[in-house]
């Protein structure tokens, strides 16, 4: 990720694609998230990437939206576009925000990559009234089938990296997440499962079916 600039001598080096801290290839359609956010809200987007959602929320919904991003190149890009983004990460920086500072705290496609998902969720619902969380569903039938058939860690379009080279250290299923919400006392105000392109899936009434066929899930949480 670090590039030396202006070096007098540049040696030919093998370009190794760095591990992305968020898996861009399983991006949930950000319009779905934006639709759940009331206009004029204060929003914090954790793992905001180049801040597309922040820009969208500011321009179309009049939100005061800010972001945190771990990838410095993305932060620089976002700031260079005039968007309020700070370098930081979900595990270490949420503690520095005051209680109730935001109406919504968004964590899209990042929960599975943080060190302490439960603590991150607690912070999200401390600093925000509502939390919007999306994550790839490890309960999807393809994942289950691959593990059953091959006995090896599944590699799918959504879970695209081998086990030794993935930032996704805390995969969970939709059922797991419902359970965590119940344990922590979070009210699930809304939830939906979507396919890879972000389209809503027909099994939204059944959590069991969603856990089998949904590639990604989006939850809107509130503290009870």
């Amino acid at each position: 990720m670090r590039r030396a600039r202006g070096a007098a001598v540049s040696l030919p080096v093998q370009v190794i694609e760095p591990i992305r801290f968020v898996a861009k290839n399983m991006r949930l359609d950000q319009r779905l998230i934006a639709q759940m956010i009331k206009p004029g809200s204060r929003v914090l987007d954790i793992g905001c990437g180049d801040a597309t959602l922040i820009d969208h929320l500011f321009r179309t919904r009049g939100c005061d939206a800010r972001g945190i991003e771990i990838d410095m190149a993305e932060v620089t890009r976002a700031v260079a576009h005039g968007l309020p983004v700070m370098h930081g990460d979900a595990d270490n920086d949420l503690a520095y925000y005051p209680d109730g500072a935001f109406d919504y705290v968004v964590l899209s496609r990042t929960l599975q990559a943080v060190e302490r998902p439960r603590e991150v969720l607690r912070h999200m619902l401390r600093i925000g009234t509502r939390a919007l969380v999306s994550f790839p569903n490890f309960g999807h039938w393809q994942v289950r089938w691959q593990l059953l058939r091959t006995g090896k860690m599944p590699v799918t379009a959504v879970w695209g990296r081998p086990w030794y080279d993935t930032p996704n250290i805390h995969p969970c299923t939709i059922a797991d997440f419902f359970e965590l919400c119940a344990d922590e006392g979070y009210l699930v105000e809304e939830w939906l499962a979507v396919d890879e392109t972000g389209g809503r899936s027909p099994w939204r009434r059944s959590a069991r079916l969603a856990n089998l066929f949904g590639e990604q899930a989006l939850f809107l949480l509130k503290k009870v």
Binding site: R2, R3, A4, R5, G6, A7, A8, D64, R66, M72, V75, T76, A78, V79, A80, H81, G82, L83, P84, V85, M86, H87, G88, D93, Y96, Y97, P98, A101
Partner: protein, 379 residues
């Protein structure tokens, strides 16, 4: 009487005959603020950008320096179509209080007799005093709200002080490569510099100016040492490595490494443009700086309720004002609920990077200002 009489150059300035009360309790009988401005102030007086210069900087941001003849210290950042666009913004930079380029400082007359200077009797000043002096200038120019206050290093300290002291006058603040307090390590470096100056026989107890002397040796050593802290090991290695100026191999007779002659050059050019007592005064002001101490030791309180938009910038190889110190500022701003961007620019050029050609930094700077201008409704 012209306050610039004792100086070889007439700096553009404004004089406040009612003086100024300093934080230390001493009152300056009169205050002169030397400044330069670039661009045009719009009718609404809403496009003013104040630039705060660093320890050895001055108000000649983009012009040929009247003493050294060198180009402005930030002419790669400020100017038409540059990140701080003078076609769009009215850019102001004042020589800091205690400086030696026309503002009230150790080279200013102490009383009515123009030949009797403050010298080492100049009272101790603080970053807050510097900001108060700039505020007088900004008021004088009829500007009630600055669109942005921007500065690196000691300039960044002034930016923080501006945002904390006059939050309603600052729409956007850019503290760059700076800290909310001067660390023990920074104070230590400054002290070595000061000792070098005061132990030079030509310092003459601070009264060198009476006899037309200059503590050149001490001032040059102070500058040389400070200059090392502005660079990174990588930058020094890249620029000089172990190359010799005196030949291709070590001869054990009067060998000079290139880095040595570079530093000596830095030292000798510095003494021609900087006053030793100013150096002592300003480094002390930096040492005193601890913004949180003014707010019950809680930096977040300094920015409580602020509506200013912040962009905190650090450089990855800066070990004088390391990223961790910028992160502390950003986190305090978060605790205060402020709108803050924070970016660490990847660079191997050390603390000096904020003055150099760093495209990512310049993009972040112009993007942040453009975003703020949009929010402020600035045309």
């Amino acid at each position: 009487m012209d306050g610039t009489e004792s100086l070889p150059i007439a700096h553009q300035h404004v004089r406040f005959t009612d003086g100024m009360m300093l934080e230390c309790g001493t009152k300056l009988p009169e205050l002169v603020v030397a400044y330069r401005s670039y661009g045009t102030l719009n009718e609404a007086r809403s496009n003013a950008v104040l630039i705060c210069h660093a320890l050895t900087g001055d108000q000649y941001v983009i012009e040929r320096h009247p003493l050294t003849g060198r180009s402005g210290w930030w002419d790669n950042v400020v100017g038409p179509k540059l990140p701080i666009d003078t076609d769009r913004f009215f850019v102001i930079c004042a020589n800091v209080l205690g400086g030696c380029m026309g503002s009230t400082g150790p080279l200013s007359p102490k009383g009515c007799d123009p030949s009797e200077l403050w010298g080492m009797d100049f009272p101790p000043i603080t970053i807050r005093d510097m900001v108060l002096a700039q505020k007088r200038l900004v008021d004088h120019l009829g500007i009630t709200k600055l669109f942005a206050v921007v500065g690196g290093s000691m300039g960044g300290m002034q930016v923080l002080e501006w945002a904390a002291t006059y939050p309603d006058m600052v729409y956007a603040a850019l503290p760059i490569a700076t800290a909310a307090l001067h660390s023990a390590q920074n104070i230590a470096f400054n002290e070595v510099g000061r000792q070098a100056i005061t132990s030079d026989p030509d310092y003459r107890g601070g009264r060198y100016w009476r006899q037309g002397a200059v503590p050149e040796r001490g001032l040059a050593i102070a500058r040389m040492m400070a200059h090392i802290t502005y660079l990174s090991e990588a930058a020094l290695t890249r620029k000089f490595g172990r190359r010799l100026r005196t030949g291709t191999a070590v001869s054990f007779v009067a060998d000079t490494f290139e880095v040595e002659s570079y530093l000596q050059h830095q030292g000798s050019t510095f003494v021609r443009r900087f006053d030793a007592n100013s150096y002592l005064t300003i480094t002390r002001a930096m040492d005193y700086f601890d913004l949180a101490a003014e707010y019950e030791d809680d930096l977040a309180l300094a920015f409580a309720g602020t509506r200013t938009r912040f962009c905190v910038v650090s450089f990855s190889s800066d070990w004088l004002f390391p990223t961790a110190q910028s992160r502390d500022i950003a986190r305090a701003l978060n605790r205060a609920g402020a709108n803050v961007s924070f970016v660490e620019i990847t660079s191997d050029k050390g603390h000096d990077a904020f003055l150099l050609d760093e495209p990512d930094f310049h993009r972040a700077l112009s993007g942040f200002l453009a975003g703020c201008a949009e929010h402020a409704g600035l045309p």
